[in-house]
């Protein structure tokens, strides 16, 4: 069988363009009480939310930037919080009518392929342009089933009871400095509610973008999966390239009730100057299942450890992640599994590739609390370092407070074997293509879990990153 080199004619410009900045409201740089009050006032939020925001602002101010310690990173010292815009809104209100979406923004989506994706099979599209969702649609049959898929601001307005019951219960503002920041200035994100027994069998998708220079994006996602229900939520990020540091700091909270299932898929490809500091956490009750599928390709620094708190007997958690770090990048990604109830199981699989001076870090927590008898945890981390300038760290925290449990952790680090390369090249494959094939093969356990169009996109991104690997 002839092996042909994979096509590398990927149009990178599609993922790195910027529109002229045209915003209805753009907050002054820097963060203070006035900005938070303005933001909350413009959104017409209830008093309790404003209070929560202001409390969180206090926490954000008091907590030091985590430069040393278990979940710290000295590179965070590069962030200048006063140089960030904390709120930008394009268009007046979230739109449900496609015709009302500004033409320029439509063009952005066009280039990202959203309308096509929708034409094909997508049920709901929440597209985040700057700090607020401007376009949102939901298929009728799901509306009939009682599934809610809205931007988070609208969710707060239309479903205040559900919102108030769950908001901030999984990730409290005091959890970490960036969760506090998000709670203070959050805007946009998705609000998903799946009623009891409803299976949403087509993924819900949201696209996120950052545009204005120096602009922070602080989306807040809240997903509630009721008893026996199931959903797959997909979030993909691309961003234009800018010269000064930007900050993206999202919070995602997920609650999966008894017997429910949730999968959350992310491909993150922020521009290489963006700090991506994200808190993603889920609570899984009895017999529930929570899966995070997490791909990190872009950003200057990503710090993200998707977590599952296994609170009910028989709950199951999984994190499957890949990270790719090129020049000037640090992908500090991992997972946390906290076993609180008996007979809970979890699996963490992490694959990372560093190249051209990039650095990957796997940082994770596997914890078995007292009483979580019969817990089983499996952790696997594999790192591939493609040249001598690149680096990889593995920092797994394992805390076992129960005797009747089993934990296995395995990690390997290596480079591409000369033998593998020689074999492929002896079959007539050029060195660059051979390298690219090996890297794609290394990431395959991740890619095969993605919906097809995402798998294709990821493979293309990796191939693009691999260009110029030789010589």
């Amino acid at each position: 069988m002839a092996v042909t080199a994979t096509n590398l004619d990927f149009d990178y410009t599609k993922y790195a363009f910027r529109n002229e900045e045209r915003y209805i409201f753009k907050s002054e740089k820097g963060l203070n009480e006035k900005v938070v009050r303005e933001l909350s006032g413009m959104k017409g939020e209830p008093e309790w939310m404003l209070k929560r925001r202001l409390q969180a602002l206090e926490i954000f101010r008091k907590k030091p930037t985590p430069l040393t310690g278990m979940w710290a990173n000295p590179e965070l010292a590069e962030l200048n919080y006063d140089e960030i815009h904390y709120f930008v809104r394009a268009g007046e209100r979230p739109q449900t009518d496609w015709d009302a979406v500004p033409a320029e923004i439509k063009q952005t989506f066009e280039r990202l392929g959203i309308p096509e994706a929708e034409r094909k099979f997508l049920a709901g599209v929440g597209a985040q342009y700057e700090s607020e969702v401007v376009y949102h649609s939901l298929r009728e049959e799901w509306a009939k089933q009682g599934v809610i898929f809205l931007d988070t601001d609208t969710g707060l307005k239309e479903y205040p009871e559900i919102f108030k019951q769950y908001f901030g219960t999984v990730v409290p503002a005091a959890d970490n400095k960036y969760a506090a920041l998000n709670t203070a200035v959050w805007s946009g994100g998705s609000f998903v509610y799946v009623p009891k027994g409803v299976h949403v069998d087509i993924p819900l998708q949201a696209y996120f973008r950052i545009n204005a220079e120096n602009m922070g994006q602080f989306e807040r996602t809240l997903i509630i999966v009721e008893e026996g229900a199931s959903v797959h939520y997909i979030e993909g990020c691309t961003a234009p390239i800018y010269s000064t540091n930007s900050l993206h700091s999202a919070v995602v909270e997920i609650i999966v009730m008894k017997g429910g299932k949730c999968r959350y898929t992310t491909i993150q490809n922020w521009a290489n100057n963006i700090f991506n500091l994200v808190t993603k956490r889920a609570i899984a009750y009895e017999e529930a299942s929570m899966e995070w599928v997490d791909g990190n390709i872009g950003s200057r620094l990503t710090m993200k450890y998707p977590s599952v708190y296994l609170m009910g007997r028989g709950a199951r958690g999984e994190v499957l992640s890949v990270a790719y770090a090129g020049k000037g990048q640090h992908q500090d990604a991992g997972a946390k599994m906290v076993h609180i109830a008996p007979d809970t199981t979890s699996r963490i699989t992490n694959k990372s590739v560093s190249k051209n001076g990039g650095k990957t870090t796997y940082r994770g927590l596997a914890k078995v609390a007292p009483g979580a008898t019969g817990a089983k945890i499996n952790v696997n981390c594999d790192a591939l370092i493609l040249d001598e300038k690149s680096a990889s760290d593995t920092i797994p925290y394992i805390e076992i407070e129960e005797d009747r449990c089993t934990l296995a952790h395995e990690a390997t680090v290596g480079r591409i074997g000369e033998e593998q390369l020689f074999y492929l090249m002896s079959r007539g494959i050029g060195e660059a293509d051979a390298l690219s094939m090996i890297v794609l093969g290394f990431m395959e356990p991740f890619t095969r879990e993605l919906p097809m169009e995402y798998a294709v996109e990821l493979n293309r991104l990796i191939q693009l990153e691999m260009e110029g690997s030789v010589g």
Partner: protein, 405 residues
Amino acid sequence: MTMKTFPPLGEISDALVTEMSQAAGEPEWLTAQRVEAWRFFASAEPPYWRRTDLSKFRPEQVIAAADTAATSVYYEEDLTEKGVVLVTLEQALRSHEALIRQHLGAAIEPTRHKFLALNAALWRDGVFLYVPKNVTVELPLTAVFSMPIPGGAIMPRNLIILDDGANVTFVEEYHSTAASDQAFAAPVTEMFLGNDATLRFIAVQTWGEDVYHIGAQKARVGRGATIEWAAVNLGARVQHIEAETSLEGDGSRVEWVAATFAGDHQNLLTAPWLRHIGAKTEAHMDFKTVVKDQSYTTFDGMIKIERQSRATVSRLEEHALHLSPKARSDSIPGLMIDTNDVARAGHASTSGEVDEEQLFYMRSRGIPRDDAIHLIVTGFFEPVLDRIPHDALRRRIADMIEAKI
């Protein structure tokens, strides 16, 4: 036993440190080192260790030994004929000052944290071992450190220097019977292996339950040299040991095994660092931990593969066995890899209860459950115990393990 001591820590000044050093006839450079370390100790913040419980540690009760009453050395062959030196470090200052000056503090920086500075300022106990070029010592050499008065404090400083091609077994043992007062040990051991040297280093900690043991050990390994390091940690109320092997020379190797068994309310932490610097360095680490009752152990390890290293082989195995539901073990098997020129690197870590299948198998052979657990735990530690050279010591450790089960 009569023993000279320092005044309580709160009453010591740099002037007193100077005065006592001069009274002991120490060279000026050492006096200066001690004073500098004391000033660091006196001014530095205490380290924050989230997995070492110092909440009940009372530094104001620390009365440090000011003589070498806690240090004993044992050897079974005539060392002088071969030029091997094994004496207290204080004594060696008179005969080997240049060697000591060259090596003291060259492996472990006293200003890394407060406790290391305290040792550097106040050490009196401790041994000096020097093995000349191409000399092999057949029988093991041993240094035993005791707690001469209940509730006392010792800060031994050990300096182990192997010249090129030297070959020796050195046992470092910390032992006391239980007492009720807080006792404190802050030992520091620095080891230097010349090219092609071989050191079998056995570190045994079997303090009584009143002791806080906060120590550091580091070996710098030269070209083609090998260190076989076995650590046994059974005693103390709180143990915090920072250990490091630095494979600096090309082709240097370490075989590193450890056995930790914690019971009651013991809090035992081991933080081994393994640093690969030279080309074709090779490391195998196998750390075993058993926790029982309400004890808490931590393995906080790191394998660092430095950028200039080449063709490194590194493997870490780390296993924790839980015998009681209320015991806790933490493991942090870290890797920091700064080059892709790695032949093989990886680690595996497991935690859990005694394997039910193994138990079932043994019980099906007529062995009662409790005996089966004994056998499994003993078997778990065997690879470490096998490396202890003295029969008597090995039996004593085996008995202690038995008693703990």
